[in-house]
């Protein structure tokens, strides 16, 4: 019974998402939705480290930048296929993950937060100043779009479907990892590192694995972002970007994939819905998040769970 409702719900959601461009004909709205989808991918990566493993990572912008620039430069300078470039971005993610994972074996908490922040700033400064290769502050222009045989996945709606497939696949992978023995080990690290080691688990393997996941997700997100907008510059990857992702993580609820999706939707779509606030938008939004971080430390997902459990309890009572 419960499984059937779940399947029905998921099919309904799938159909709704597939038919979305039919209802929403505004091209700008589709672009916002595309950005939301990319955010979901990056956010799930951050969720592995900060959400599940409980390690502070303030390097999201730097990770995304590496993915975006890897893919953008390979396609524009060496005219590689975007697919090959995407795979290179994944490789870049693996390298970054190992590079960031090693420091995390020795340093934690606020130290790790500052290291990743420093890493992110170094990446941005280097990209900004290596004018010959990266174009410096002017960025990289005319990043080509993906091609499927001879069909160009160009324009907001076709790209929407491509991203949707990516997001679904990445969500499935993330869920499978979270619900595996590795997911358990990652969560266990958040609770108690010494006990994880006492269980015979090699801490470094799990930590580097989680960081690699984070960086691969981040790099894929960055690369897809470049191909979506067609233009990237260092200002896209400043500390503000990192903060936006942390906001998403907090709003949705730390450590939960549905929470990630909710967080990404709220932070990306809400500004458009609250346009009437104009200049005051970010101010009001930040205050809301600050207040909710004190009052609602488990994110929106906890509210939904609470309502759900109340409703289902009510339903059970009604049946009786």
């Amino acid at each position: 019974m419960k499984k059937r409702t779940k399947v029905l719900l998921l099919t309904g959601l799938g159909l709704l998402l597939a038919a979305l461009p039919v209802f929403i004909t505004n091209a700008y709205a589709i672009i916002v939705i595309n950005q939301t989808l990319i955010s979901i991918i990056v956010l799930m990566g951050l969720n592995f480290i900060t959400g599940l493993m409980g390690q502070m990572n303030l390097g999201t912008a730097g990770i995304m930048a590496m993915g975006a620039y890897t893919s953008a430069l390979l396609t524009t300078k060496l005219s590689m296929s975007p697919w090959v470039a995407l795979i290179s971005a994944v490789l870049m993610g693996c390298i970054l993950g190992i590079g960031l994972g090693y420091p995390s074996l020795r340093i934690k908490g606020i130290y790790l937060a500052l290291t990743t922040l420093g890493f992110s700033e170094i990446i941005r400064l280097v990209i900004n100043n290596l004018v010959d290769i990266t174009g410096g502050p002017t960025g990289v222009r005319n990043i080509p779009c993906f091609k499927l045989f001879s069909y160009e996945i160009k324009g907001a709606v076709p790209y929407y479907y491509l991203l949707l497939i990516f997001v679904v696949v990445m969500i499935v992978i993330a869920l499978r990892i979270i619900h595996s023995k590795w997911g358990r080990a990652i969560k266990a690290i958040k609770d108690n590192e010494v006990a994880v080691e006492a269980c015979g688990i090699k801490l470094s393997t799990i930590k580097i694995f989680a960081f690699t996941l984070c960086c691969v997700y981040g790099c894929i997100g960055g690369a897809l972002y470049g191909h979506l907008i067609g233009y990237i510059s260092p200002t896209d990857f400043s500390v503000d970007t990192t903060i936006r992702y942390l906001m998403m993580l907090m709003i949705g609820g730390i450590g939960s994939i549905p929470g990630n999706v909710i967080g990404a939707v709220v932070v990306n779509v809400l500004p458009e819905a609250l346009r009437f606030l104009g200049n005051y938008y970010w101010l009001i939004f930040s205050i809301l998040i600050l207040v909710s971080s004190v009052l609602l430390p488990n994110g929106l997902v906890s509210v939904i769970k609470m309502i759900y459990s109340k409703v289902s309890r009510f339903a059970v009572k009604g049946e009786k």
């Binding site: 900060t50 409980g54 502070m56 420091p103 020795r106 340093i107 934690k108 908490g109 606020i110 130290y111 937060a113 500052l114 290291t115 922040l117 420093g118 890493f119 700033e121 170094i122 400064l125 280097v126 100043n129 500390v239 903060i243 942390l246 906001m247 907090m250 730390i254 200049n279 005051y280 970010w282 101010l283 930040s286 205050i287 998040i289 600050l290 971080s293 004190v294 430390p297």
Partner: protein, 290 residues
């Protein structure tokens, strides 16, 4: 040789600023266990209150504007402490604590943009020019920065050694539970510390106006490099903050004499990551290794 001294002097000048930044957030860290990621916005706010409102709008003389700005920042600091830092320091997840101060930074940035507008501006005749010392020229700003830094260090030293509040602050930094058992009001202590930190931020903000102008991003780099200074010197220790700040200022300045200037800003972060990997406790072996 002349240029070496010139660079060294500039380095010490900037180093003093990093010292003050590192001290300002170390105080809060010691009192509450929170890293104030909003500290660069505190600095910016101090500069805007001083330059934007008191000097340019109200045309107050600088002698009068400085104490008023300090006073306003102290009030702002205590309000922020009571409304934000106290509740955050009681949360058990450090992720939320970090996020809380980051959100505070965002709020301050937005509020400043809305109140004073996004355009950068300057105080035209505020500490300009330089003294000549043989071949070496000493700009007045750096001289003022050094004097102010020494004065603040002396005041803090006096406070820590001789006053009741200062001794209480040292106790809390050592062990919060023990301090509260001994009758120190930890919450009050946080409020006082953030107010003090706000005043130091205000001083930093005023001092860097001639160097960076008044703009929304004026203090971002200084804030980040201040963090680097704290780590390099030894996190959570005031002497560490001083050593780390001066080291970063001097190395950065000397580097600009030999390497390409565009990478000047990278130096501090390379030092930061290098120290974290090789000697995470910093030069002065801080005990805050959490």
């Amino acid at each position: 040789m002349t240029s070496f001294f010139q660079l060294l002097l500039g380095g010490i000048g900037m180093g003093c600023i990093y010292c003050l930044v590192a001290i300002e957030y170390t105080l809060i860290w010691n009192a509450s266990g929170l890293v104030n990621f909003a500290h660069d916005k505190f600095i910016m706010l101090g500069a805007y209150i001083f330059a934007g409102t008191l000097v340019l709008k109200l045309n107050l003389p600088i002698i009068l504007a400085v104490p008023i700005a300090l006073f306003l920042m102290a009030i702002f600091g205590s309000v922020a402490a009571m409304g934000i830092f106290n509740p955050l320091s009681r949360l058990n997840s450090n992720i939320y604590a970090v996020m809380g101060t980051i959100m505070l930074a965002k709020i301050l940035g937005e509020a400043t943009r809305l109140i004073w507008g996004p355009a950068p501006f300057n105080l035209p005749s505020f500490v300009k020019g330089a003294y000549k010392l043989g071949e070496v020229s000493v700009s007045k700003v750096y001289l003022l920065i050094m004097i102010a830094t020494i004065a603040i260090l002396l005041i803090i030293e006096f406070m820590f050694k001789k006053t009741k509040v200062g001794i209480a602050m040292r106790c809390v930094a050592e062990d919060k539970t023990a301090a509260s058992l001994m009758g120190v009001n930890v919450n009050k202590n946080i409020t006082f510390t953030v107010a003090l930190s706000g005043m130091i931020c205000c001083v930093v903000g005023i001092l860097i106006i001639p160097v960076f102008n008044v703009s929304l991003g004026m203090s971002t780099m200084i804030g980040l490099k201040g963090f680097a200074a704290g780590i390099v010197g030894g996190f959570g220790s005031i002497p560490g903050a001083i050593v780390g700040g001066l080291l970063i200022g001097i190395v950065e300045s000397l580097y600009s004499g030999v390497g390409p200037t565009v990478y000047r800003d990278v130096v501090a972060f390379v030092l930061l990551i290098g120290f974290l990997l090789v000697k995470p406790k910093g030069i002065l072996n801080s005990k805050a290794s959490k």
